[in-house]
């Protein structure tokens, strides 16, 4: 029920982001979703890709600092209050969201949101119990 995300440390210097995408492109890795957190000095690029381990390996080889983390992909009804319904379930279940970002593709009629929780296992339980559809990693990588 978990999705693997890679994160990359990027200094705020011109060309670094382009370099990451170049390396991934040359390795035939396709980016499925991304989010960039930035501070004044550095950024953290988070990616969901179709080939996680390969992406991590080629980036490391090029000298990037790369981490792999588990995140959760959740189906969200594509209508007003759709996201609120999910966040409300999480809040009631006392689950903390570290950060979240939207997936590019839709899943049928629904949108897909990627969540990073402080406690991933517990979050999945809370969501499933609340009747929310949590998507499998395989489905996300190949969407």
């Amino acid at each position: 029920m978990k999705v693997e995300q890679i994160s990359i440390f990027i200094e705020n210097k011109s060309g670094r982001l382009a370099e990451v995408t170049r390396v991934l492109g040359e390795a035939g890795v396709n980016i499925r979703a991304l989010s960039l957190a930035d501070t004044s000095d550095f950024g953290i690029l988070r990616l969901i890709v179709n080939k996680t381990d390969q992406a991590k390996a080629v980036l490391k080889e090029k000298g990037f600092t790369v981490n792999k983390t588990d995140v959760v992909a959740v189906e969200v009804p594509d209508r007003p209050s759709g996201l609120y319904g999910i966040l409300n379930i999480l809040d009631q279940g006392k689950v903390n969201v570290e950060y979240m970002y939207a997936f590019v593709e839709r899943c049928g009629e629904n949108a897909v949101i990627i969540f990073r929780f402080d406690n991933t296992e517990e979050a999945i339980q809370v969501l499933t119990r609340g009747g929310v559809n949590v998507l499998e990693g395989e489905r996300i990588y190949n969407m």
Partner: protein, 434 residues
């Protein structure tokens, strides 16, 4: 083990009478042969025969690095060039280098003192000494080389650079003793990790590190990563080169300075007055056996103190505390004295931070700014911004606690801070260009 039992364990009073005799001879010689010294002494109304005790030394003028530049290249040599068999020069990052010349006897003395140093560090005949100090104008390579040969060890003249080959030779030749700068030893460890070489599988037992200031924390890091005993060696080309002083492996605490060849004094760097025994200040050295280019009260700009207690190893020569830095490396940030080595000791104690760092000093609106660049590694990197921000504020807080200076911490990508094969360049001071 002691290399020269007779001279390294001389009773205190014998050392002092030997020093006085040799000092008087040196003064007679430079007064007669080096116009600079004759003028210096005359300026203060002194002459060699007025030096009756070691205490009179403090009445003589200092010799500065600038004096060597002013007399570039051979002006301070005390013998004709025909008697000089070797010439070395400092790196001279600003202006002309400082030039030193050695007579045949000077080379022999140097080899003797380096051999003493190797033995003090726990090396002996039969060791394979992997010498990664640079060979060339820099004194490190050849200085250590001659000492190793004098000792009767097998010396591998690696010089600096070509790090992968260094590791291959260490593995294949069974190097047991490593000599290089402390920063280069950590670079060797980094490359070894990349190559999948475990230092535990090598035969290295001792590393003799010098030519740049380093901290006790860095010693721990090196000992752990390279699986050896790390020994601090002291030297400077103006006085001799490596082997002016060394830690003994028995105590690993303070560097014995070979007092039958040098007289150390500790002075207040601002006033020039000699400080009481045991107080911290600038080290001043007088050479008392050197023929080529004797140095009278040379200001080393190194900050240290004399450790008054006798050493457990049996050597009677005084010990100097690990140099906390050189006065020219010292940064003054908003009025606070900061040595790069102090920042280094803070960084090394923080988990997840690589021991490679750089300090950028600048001035913004008449205020000094200090930026500490630190490399992020895989242990400290997280996908969450707050964790990285906690790391940089922790570094900032600990530096503030230690030095009282607020700095900006900048996390940078791994391996982006330049690695050095010789002396590491830790500081970029942009204020000087303004």
């Amino acid at each position: 083990m002691i290399w020269n039992d007779e001279f390294e364990t001389l009773p205190r009073d014998v050392i002092e009478s030997l020093q006085l005799k040799r000092l008087q001879q040196t003064l007679q010689r430079v007064y007669a042969t080096v116009p600079f010294y004759r003028q210096q002494l005359q300026k203060v109304g002194m002459s060699p025969d007025k030096v009756k005790s070691l205490d009179d030394l403090k009445r003589l003028p200092f010799t500065l690095k600038q004096d060597m530049r002013d007399n570039y290249p051979y002006g301070l040599f005390a013998v004709p060039l025909e008697q000089i068999v070797r010439i070395h020069a400092s790196s001279g990052t600003t202006g002309k280098p400082t030039v030193v010349g050695y007579t045949r006897r000077d080379i022999e003395t140097w080899a003797e003192l380096m051999a003493r140093s190797f033995v003090a560090a726990g090396a002996h005949k039969g060791d394979v000494i992997h010498n990664a100090y640079g060979y060339g104008l820099f004194t490190g390579g050849l200085g250590a080389h001659y000492g190793a040969e004098k000792l009767g060890a097998s010396v591998i003249p690696m010089s600096g650079g070509n790090t992968r080959k260094q590791l291959m030779i260490m593995q294949d030749f069974g190097s047991t003793v490593l000599t290089c700068t402390p920063s280069y030893s950590l670079y060797l460890a980094e490359v070894a990790a990349e190559e999948g070489i475990d230092f535990k599988s090598l035969k290295l037992k001792v590393g003799i590190f010098g030519a740049e200031p380093w901290s006790e924390e860095m010693r721990n890091e090196i000992e752990e990563k390279l699986n050896l005993k790390a020994i601090d060696i002291y030297g400077l080309s103006e006085i001799l080169g490596p082997g002016v002083g060394i830690e003994c492996i028995e105590a690993q605490k303070g560097l014995h300075l070979w007092e039958d060849h040098f007289i150390p004094e500790i002075i207040n760097p601002d006033t020039g007055e000699v400080l009481p025994y045991g107080e911290r200040g600038e080290l001043v050295i007088t050479t008392i056996t050197k023929e080529g280019i004797p140095m009278i009260r040379y200001r080393t700009r190194d900050i240290t103190r004399i450790i008054p207690e006798p050493c457990i190893c049996g050597r009677t020569h005084v010990r100097l505390e690990r140099m906390s830095g050189r006065t020219d490396d010292m940064l003054i940030i908003r009025g606070v004295n900061v040595f790069p080595s102090q920042i280094e000791s803070v960084l090394i104690n923080i988990e997840g931070v690589e021991p490679h760092y750089q300090l950028i000093v600048d001035r913004e609106e008449n205020l000094d700014t200090l930026e500490v660049q630190v490399e992020v590694n895989e242990q400290s990197f997280s996908d969450e911004v707050k964790i990285l921000q906690e790391l940089s504020s922790r570094i900032q807080k600990e530096i503030k606690e230690m030095l009282g200076v607020t700095c900006k911490v900048r996390l940078v990508e791994p391996k982006t801070i330049a690695r050095s094969e010789g002396k590491a360049k830790r500081v970029i001071d942009n204020r000087k260009e303004q």
